[in-house]
Symmetry: D2
Subunit: 346 residues, 4 copies
């Protein structure tokens, strides 16, 4: 079967390069276009030497791309910059956006959190929220998929089935989130220098992180009532990986075992979502580099409360991997194709 020609817009960031890492081994994809305005003219080998042995197109500017033979575009641009670029793309292209630009259904919420009016509201209407396990059917027929943020993916895969099943109280959620440094991207900022982030641990975005409205949108939708959640991220001295510890009140006499049963039922046929094996705590090490999500449910000592732990690789299931999973659905390929890589441990 002919490989599907794809393009990557914004290929010089970490999500872009991880998309290329996975796409290069995907039997149904051919990387035809790579853009990166600030690095246009360079070989990918120069920007990401770990990709040097691959035959890849040279980086070009967005406007130089010839999209005529391309069928799908992955967009790895920073938030607030994708919308204008995606708006101008030829309509024959299916688009998988890894930025936040099309995740929020309510334009007012977008404007409030991202500090400016949305520039492609007409596209927003048709965008599908790309949390694969929960919007699979919509994704199959979508032209534009807005892949969820890394934190929302980890949080929602854990919480949505429990909220939908009425097992936990959606109005009283505390989400303590921890992420590796790659979540901050490759741009030069003092707090992500090795000497600043290494051998240390810092909270950030406390009560102000932009993944909050995205989590609230989906939890509210699942629970049928508008909620505000606590969401508190922390920067961890590791490159990849994300772990969210969510603290919830059980509803109507539900137990931790009920939560486990609900999750096992919901995800029993999923290729990438698993409960932690007996005796093992979900840990970022166990999913690093893979598209897997590992879940664990623990009864709290505080009566009526439960501790919900979910972990994934922020660049894979939290971004490029889920994007490819959605691509597979959109093009009728086996959903796991190109994503079978086992986690790299140690």
């Amino acid at each position: 079967m002919a490989r599907i020609k794809i393009g990557v817009i914004g290929a010089s960031g970490y999500t872009g390069s991880d998309l290329v890492r996975l796409a290069a081994c995907h039997p149904g994809m051919e990387i035809a276009v790579l853009t990166a305005n600030s690095h246009a003219g360079k070989a990918m080998a120069e920007v990401f030497p770990h990709l040097a042995h691959l035959k890849l197109p040279t980086l070009i500017k967005n406007e130089e791309a010839d999209w005529s033979k391309v069928e799908a575009v992955f967009c790895g641009l920073p938030h607030a910059t994708s919308q204008a670029v995606i708006r101008e793309l030829p309509k024959h292209l299916k688009v998988i956006d890894m930025s936040a630009d099309f995740r929020l259904r309510d334009a007012a919420v977008y404007e409030k959190w991202y500090g400016g009016a949305h520039q492609a509201l007409d596209l927003q209407k048709d965008a599908v929220y790309g949390l694969t396990e929960h919007y699979r059917d919509d994704i199959k027929t979508a032209r534009l998929v807005a892949c969820p943020g890394c934190y929302p993916t980890a949080v929602l895969i854990m919480l949505l089935p429990l909220v939908k099943a009425g097992l936990i109280d959606a109005s009283d959620l505390i989400i303590d989130a921890k992420s590796g440094v790659s979540g901050a991207g490759r741009s030069l900022k003092q707090n992500v220098l090795f000497c600043e982030a290494g051998e240390g641990l810092s909270p950030y975005g406390v009560a102000s992180h932009r993944h909050s409205p995205e989590i609230e949108q989906e939890i509210s939708r699942a629970g049928g009532a508008q909620v505000i959640v606590n969401f508190t991220p922390h920067l961890i001295p590791m490159s990849r990986g994300e772990l969210c510890t969510s603290y919830a009140k059980l509803k109507g006499g539900a137990t931790a075992a009920d939560c486990v049963a609900a999750l096992e039922k919901h995800y029993k046929d999923e290729p990438f979502v698993f409960m932690a094996p007996k005796g093992v705590m979900p840990s970022t090490q166990y999913v690093r580099g893979s598209n897997n999500v590992m879940l664990g449910v623990y009864a709290d000592r505080v009566p009526g409360r439960v501790i919900l732990i979910s972990t994934l690789d922020n660049l894979v299931k939290g971004s490029a991997g889920q994007a490819i999973q959605n691509f597979n659905l959109m093009f009728g390929l086996p959903e796991s194709q190109g994503l079978e890589q086992v986690a790299l441990f140690p």
Copy 2:
């Protein structure tokens, strides 16, 4: 003034070695005895090469120690092993215990969490809980001080003033705790190998960590009612440092600003407890190697809730540093003596 001769029991662990690191520069101390049963006969230089340039006594077995000229003993033995050793020490010795053995006032609670009857209950009665900022007067006259656990120190310094002032609801506390690997000690366990703990993040002791009853004991005492808290620790890929993110409900219309005011008032004359400077999040990097505690208070987006962040170095204020701070009080020395070292950053 003559230096006070001290001994360290269990000097081959990380708390023991950090005690020696600090004691060696303390102008009022002379290290006279170092014991470590499993390393008896070795030079400290062999066990801890970073101490090789110091003139230190050779490691001996506990029973070989000549305590006659010693005035104070620091005990760095593992939990459940200190009590029997401390029980047999000559009565002229003041004892600063860094283990958990004398922290819990209720023998039944001790037995439940540590899995065996306490072997020195008579001593337990007179032991003072060594959270310096909250038990200073008792410590001054104590013979036996039980230094708090590292997590309880971080948590209680933040929460006790707020509970006492009635600003937060002590019955609804969620404490998400993060620690560097040195908290696990120097013994050989698979989960603390570099390849297992590095570049990764793992929860542990979920709903079962032994620092829970210690936190509950003190919160209950401060609030006047028995409480159960959520306490969920996580292992972070760094050697030193601890950060606790506590989530609380505000009481009676209190605000985050009220919490800040209460903490500032309570700690305004303290040498080691500080609010994070404006624009800075408390981070372990900023206290590494020092006896300092850094605090931050943040209004949650969820109405009526507050996020409370405290950080310290688990081996210093969380163990050996606080032990020396207590020693200074017990012997009438300036409280900060030997503890002025500035945090090592980067």
Copy 3:
């Protein structure tokens, strides 16, 4: 085509688990037997949770294995223990040994460095040294392949073509080697604890590392005269990766450019050996998790000297990856099959 049934002896170490990680995605392999005497009876998920989502046989003792339908065995046992195990294996099995037991052609050298007489000398005679790029034809027909050590692989891929071409002086080689901590295996040793190896750098095995005779055997063979090399390894605070900086004297007026040309010519059709792209220094990050080797050659400021830098992932090309590369050759499969994974960066 039917998958070839394989077994892994010693599957509970890091080389064993990395073999499983790669084999699980290899289209020509089926993992039929996994042994680990100390973990017999456990599920692999319990020993290596990152493999939990794979369908794998339960770990058993070596003697419980049914080898009748198995065609190839990978052996990941510690040095000096493989020989006795391999000696007893049924003769229909092809064996790829990742230990040091069959690497040294001279039994006296083995005995000197490994402290005991070899127990399977008859097998040693037929063993092929599994440095794929240099013994490809022998490997194709071998029953027993002794995969090189991780350091020798990095060093020899760089040096052999230069020695053979007479460009460098084999009798004056200084090899400063650096390795991540996984090279030390998963056994519990104090120096590989996170707190001991983290944020620090230690030489080890100075003038005594067991990879020295292996390097010398091959360099001597290539150069036609017995040599002794300096080989000095250092432990680096990272889990995976190895980089060797070799310092050599150029011979007969040769230049660094001549070395580059010789390497490019020698490896031009190799799937896994590459020169670093222009402007990029070979770095472990760029090969992590992959079977690639990256090489760089630099003229020294000291006239007539050259600096030769080679890097690989010690668990992949340095062990399990090269083992699979050899397996592919032994069974007539495409040499790169199952090894196309791109390096995981960051």
Copy 4:
């Protein structure tokens, strides 16, 4: 005794902040002026939160400084920018420069390596090279001390006594150097991002590092003949620490034991230079945060060769600590004052 008022020019870099960390605990110093042009007007607490609890002057521009009551200035500016600033300082100030600007005695060498003519050649004439253990008498009476680079300090403390004693061949030296990331300073560069430098190892400045001429200047001087050395640095994923592995030919039948004896004799009364204890390899962990240098000498397996390993903390003995050691000498204070801090391990 009145404390000596000091100033720090360029206090917003890592060497500046480490100077402040140490100076704040130095009983003979008072920090009177802190300058940092790009951060003028800020509190030090904002720029370096680990110093927040100290009472420190606000950062000002160089030209705003009132030097009238100051006696000594430490200069932590980047290379090539100090000379113009130091040239303009009032003559009553003693100056301890931590940049490279006054290290090279030969203006032509400076110009060649730093790419521009020196702007304060008249001062250069009187500058003393501040390698304390080797230029102590000159330093005592100097007005301007040029503290050595971090690498040259580690290398020269090891090699100078051996070259002077004629034990090693100064014309055949290979120096493989490894440094933590703080050596690169706090400026924003891609290669020192956590995700780029973490879990990886990169050579840099191969055959072109600016510390080469400094090493060569001093080795040539000690040996009485101009030499060129191999000097190859590598970036290690740790914040602090430096270790140099030097490979040398022994001269005239000398042995490794002769080298040990020469070093022990040369440094026997030094407060900060030590041989590694028996059975211990010099490692950066053992000197982190301290002003100590640890040395180890090992006979190579290659006859007539020796392996020389030296380690220090690049920000302390490699910069701010040695600067204070020199300050102590210049002002007649005990040489170790303010520098007794024990290494922070783990």
